[in-house]
Amino acid sequence: MTTVVRIPEETHEEVARIAAFRGEQPGHLIAEAWREYIANHRAEFAADLEQAAKLLRDGTLEELTAFVNRSVPARAKRAAARLANGTEDPE
């Protein structure tokens, strides 16, 4: 089973080159980059985690929902654009 991640073409080419050089799959390299990103953004991660914990502890369901849905506008934009562009799911 697979899923698709859209990245700029030049980034994809660079990832593919580095992955080939290291004898790895591009997906593996991207996952590694994600883990490095998390490691390098600990402060942001900790602040958001604290906010989630506070909302779970003291917040209303509406406030927690608003936090969970923080990225909905951006995700909705991507989903609608993908559909309008007729992109097929390779699955």
Partner: protein, 262 residues
Amino acid sequence: MATAETVLCRSRMVRSMDRPESLVGHTVGGNYVCKGWELRVTKRCLEDDLNADDDAPFDSILGLHVVKAFVKDRQGVTYGTRQVSPIECRPEVWVLAQGDRHRGATIYDPEQEIVWLIAYGKHESGSPKEFFPYCKGLAKKGTLLPTEEDYEGLLADRGGHFAEAVRIEAPMLLLVASRTEGEHRCTVGGSLGAGLCVEVSTAPDATAITVAFFATEVEWEQGLTLLAAINPGKWDPVPRMPSRDLEDGEVAFTIMLEKEEL
């Protein structure tokens, strides 16, 4: 900007494609939950074609002929027997028929696992909304397919369900994980929520909880809420699960708890 597609592997075991039994056949906001997907009506179709509010909950329109047909014919399969033509559109637009007169148009978005009812009209020559010319007109105007606002409604309803489920389900899954040898694979909020793996490792004076999920499937805020609901303490990213390496696209976090914190 030009884009390319990078394919990441993900585990079939982690992600349950089926919605929880308790939700199948029920509505969640504007969604009707089927086993492997949901049904929803676009805002334009709700307002212009069904004379309903553009944010009408699904259960408020269940009595309409075309919505009855939508549920009956699309809860088992995502497509119909014939396409609306001559619309050249991707994804395919399928005809939904109820009796001789009522006609609907549906599409399936596999990435979001949603079947949309995008138009309704009558199969009557001369009717102001004669189905096939009406659909063709909407396609020509670029208003046939779901919009950004439609997806906002869909994702917000799913997020609301996740927020509701996480508080109840997270303590339960931790309990089950602590009684499971090795890794416990589960979902929170069913497929409307997030799939994850939880492993609890117990030592004499401390316990480690490690949680993994796919960064491509679980949104940042969902992931953080999951972790905070399992334990509100300090989680750290880790490169592997205690009993295995991570799969491509998977991320893991761990928290160490002293005995008295449990």
